[in-house]
Amino acid sequence: MKEYYELIVIGGGPAGLAAAISAKENGLNDILILERDQVLGGILNQCIHNGFGLHHFKEELTGPEYAERFIRELDGTGIDVMTDTMVLEITKDRTVCAVSPKYGYLTLKAGAVILAMGCRERTRGAISIPGTRPAGILTAGAAQRFVNIEGYMVGKRVVILGSGDIGLIMARRMTLEGAKVLACVEVMPYSGGLMRNIVQCLEDFGIPLYLSHTITDIRGKRRVEGVTVSKVDENRRPIPGTEIEFDCDTVLLSVGLIPENELSRQAGIPIDPRTNGPMVDESLQTQVPGIFACGNVLHVHDLVDYVSDEAARAGAAAAAFVKNGAANEGYRLVKTADNVGYTVPQKIAKDAQQVQIFFRVRRIFEESVIEVRSGETLLAKFKRTHMAPGEMERIALPKVLLDKAGDEITISAKEA
């Protein structure tokens, strides 16, 4: 068995697939994808609703269809795939240890590594919902797997906490499968999901969305028997006297996604606490040379189309690294200011060409403007008619503009 690959991609979901294909297109021939599940495609396999691919393929696909397009592209590329294979460790010198029933214990070396492990869902414990701990409390993604992959329903009367996209999608899915979705409860004064999902998954089915509310008690010893929902104040503290009781057997949680960077941390790759993903430059290279990151392991995306685009850039950059090695003449830091939660990348090589910067705003904006500054100098302004934390923002900065900047550039947002 081979012990060296030019590129090892960790994860065979949308990010890993697009990254591997792009690396091949950019001249690498010796590529391995390691996937922990039995099949490629990642979370797309359980996203059987449509709405994928509008940007990338200019048509509307389901999750499995979108994944299938990429999986088919692998054919004839010579890219090796090992499924049912779990990476246990990555080191800074790009040694990858993995196990699988078929291949046993693997120790592999790579010219470059692309991290594409995706993300996981925030759980009940992370947000400390009081009450009992019966069956019937699931993350929306776990419920989605049961319903869409295993073919089993997870409840009959459902309250959904959080209005993230998976929760909204599951509200519709559970309703179509005959369950009664009583409410979608969101602690923030706005939804964390895409507007189209609010309309198509809640409004079209008459499911009430309770903004600025949260679950303050769960009852039931063996199985959920009911929940209490309370209104919260501006500091997200429950307001006594506002309790609403719901008689339900199921609570689905859609309260946020967290990039899965345990392997990255183990490898000593610096993590940005704002994104929970690695700090990267514009080529998506982490602080460890030769290790790149893309997709939801880097920062949580709203649309898979953008994951594919980002992964393609990571694949191209990894190919360049393998062929040319690292060559950078210093960096400019990208900083956040008013109303901007984070940026990716967090730094830009001084010799970079056009650079795309992704970020999310901290609250809802209507007519507004994104400002790019370097020190006191305003480098650029971008107008927006609407921005929301649930939607990823993107700006492109050409080289001529970057050349005017000092050692730092700052991104901020405000009302126009």
């Binding site: 029933p101 214990y105 759980t123 009992t132 776990a142 295993e150 967290i258």
Partner: protein, 510 residues
């Protein structure tokens, strides 16, 4: 004479008691008469079963839930206490120190995670300093090995993250941390391997005196035995009163906890207690054997003996107290809140009684987990005094081996996968638990029947994702191995169903 009186008394109290007694007599013929029946398979019952299984006696353990370790034993601080807390001269003090000394060999033999990391009781003001001195003196009287009061410098050396204003601390090197439910499971499994029987989903509803001993009526049928051991935890008084006049009262006290991610697991090195004081019993901060950090507990009397709900108010207080000792603890790294109910009593001691072959192991409050193996030895003494006459087994198997894949080195992992490829399939990604380990558990002496049963044996779903990824796969594996439909697999206790039926196209899946 007394026996007759008791049965009559019961009959007067509840109408159907007569029926139960009658059924008992009828079942007597042709039904096995066990030497000992143990009611309850928490750590106390399991330890008693383990100790009895060393002897040439027949043992039946009755458990009302679908698994062992389902009550207090599964939700506590997971501490092996040194023994300075209990009032000197009590059984509790003696059995604590004895149980502590037994833990190491027992855990080694039965492959239970245990680490003797020591404990500190930290003092932050004058009042605390007085408490620390009292505890020290009590510890000396109780025979706790190696305890001493250490100054602020040494305390900070042991615990660099302790609050700056620490005055001194009681250091107890024999304190440790353990996996409490695996301790219970290991003891029960070993008892079963040595011939003890376990009946699950068998809730005791009545106990009656018979010619040969006792008839214990359960929801799963009657059991006859010469001796009865009542290890019913928070229900021990109720079980006692099925046969005997009230002798004690169990006072359920709920303790709420936060369990933090492994990223916080090195925030402290020892079990850091605070002084019990006017504001309540001290809150501890401690690493767990799985590398997490545990913060808690509160102490609150509650009416419902099985109410393990957590509350925002109480946990807020627990967190505030924890910060007093370890100000830098990052409570945002919480991965789970939980609560356990302790079987306290109004007595400042364990209630270990024997009357006519009926043994109560009751009021097993903290440090019950620590004392359990010593309580079990004491229980056997009580049974012997009551007439149990049995020699030791010559072929007692005092070992248990569990594969913990994540803890092996690369060579061992490699060899294991070559031997059995199922060890190469990681099911729980947070804790790196393989399908091989899950299959081992399913085919162990006390096979788990629930997702949480697997969790208690393999630590699946105990990590950051809390079973979000591995839960559905474990349902699949359980259904496959138990030859049943996934919809029959429960999360935890009987009735904790996960799935409510097939989807509209569910039947069409491959």
């Amino acid at each position: 004479m007394q026996v007759v009186y008791l049965i009559q008394r019961k009959r007067q109290r509840t109408g159907h008691e007569k029926g139960a007694a009658f059924a008992c007599v009828r079942f007597e013929e042709g039904k096995e008469l066990y030497d000992v029946v143990i009611i309850g398979c928490g750590v106390t019952g399991a330890a008693a079963a383990y100790e009895l299984s060393k002897l040439q006696v027949s043992v039946m353990i009755l458990e009302k839930e679908n698994d062992v370790a389902m009550g207090t034993s599964r939700a506590n601080s997971a501490i092996i206490h040194a023994g300075y807390d209990a009032p000197s001269g009590t059984l509790m003090a003696r059995l604590n120190v004895e149980g502590n000394a037994m833990a190491e060999d027992l855990c080694k033999a039965l492959d239970v995670p245990f680490k003797r990391i020591g404990s500190l009781v930290a003092a932050f003001d004058d009042y605390d300093e007085g408490v620390v001195r009292d505890l020290y003196e009590r510890g000396i009287r109780n025979g706790v090995p190696g305890i001493r009061i250490i100054g602020p410098e040494e305390t900070k050396k042991i615990e660099p993250n302790i609050a700056e204003n620490v005055r001194c601390a009681l250091y107890a090197p024999t304190a440790g941390i353990i996996n409490p439910w695996e301790y219970t499971i290991a003891l029960a499994e070993t008892a079963v391997r040595n011939g003890a029987q376990l009946m699950r989903n068998a809730e005791v509803t009545a106990i009656a005196r018979t010619q040969d001993g006792y008839c214990v009526t359960t929801t799963a049928g009657d059991v006859q035995a010469k001796y009865v051991v009542n290890a019913a935890g928070v229900f021990a008084d109720k079980v006692h009163e099925m046969l005997l006049p009230p002798a004690f009262e169990i006072v359920p006290v709920r303790g709420e906890y936060d369990l933090l991610d492994r990223s916080e697991g090195t925030r402290c090195n020892t079990v850091v207690f605070q002084c019990p004081g006017p504001e309540g019993k001290g809150v501890l901060v401690s690493p767990t054997v799985h590398g997490n950090l545990i913060v808690g507990p509160s102490a609150e009397e509650i009416p419902d003996r099985e109410d393990t709900a957590t509350t925002a108010e109480v946990l807020a207080k627990v967190r505030e107290r924890a910060k007093r000792a370890i100000p830098s603890v990052d409570l945002r790294q919480c991965i789970r809140n939980f609560a356990g109910v302790r079987a306290n009593s109004r007595v400042d001691d364990f209630i270990l009684l024997e009357e006519d072959g009926f043994v109560d192991l009751a009021g097993i409050k903290s440090p019950g987990l620590t004392a359990a193996p010593a309580i079990a030895k004491y229980a056997v003494e009580l049974l012997r005094k009551a007439g149990l006459d049995a020699p030791e087994k010559e072929d007692f198997i005092n070992e248990r081996h569990v594969v913990h894949f994540a803890e092996l080195d690369a060579e061992e992992q490699k060899a294991l996968i070559e031997k059995n490829p199922a060890y190469g399939r990681v099911i729980c990604r947070c804790n790196t638990v393989t399908e091989g380990e899950i299959l081992d558990a399913i085919h162990s002496p006390i096979p788990p029947v629930s997702v949480d049963g697997i969790k208690r044996r393999c630590i699946t779903g105990m990590g950051r994702c809390q079973g979000g990824f591995c839960g559905p796969r474990i349902v699949d594996i359980l259904a496959r191995e138990l030859h049943t439909d996934p919809s029959k697999i429960v999360q935890d206790g009987t009735g904790s169903y996960i799935l409510t039926g097939e989807t509209k196209q569910g039947g069409e899946r491959a």
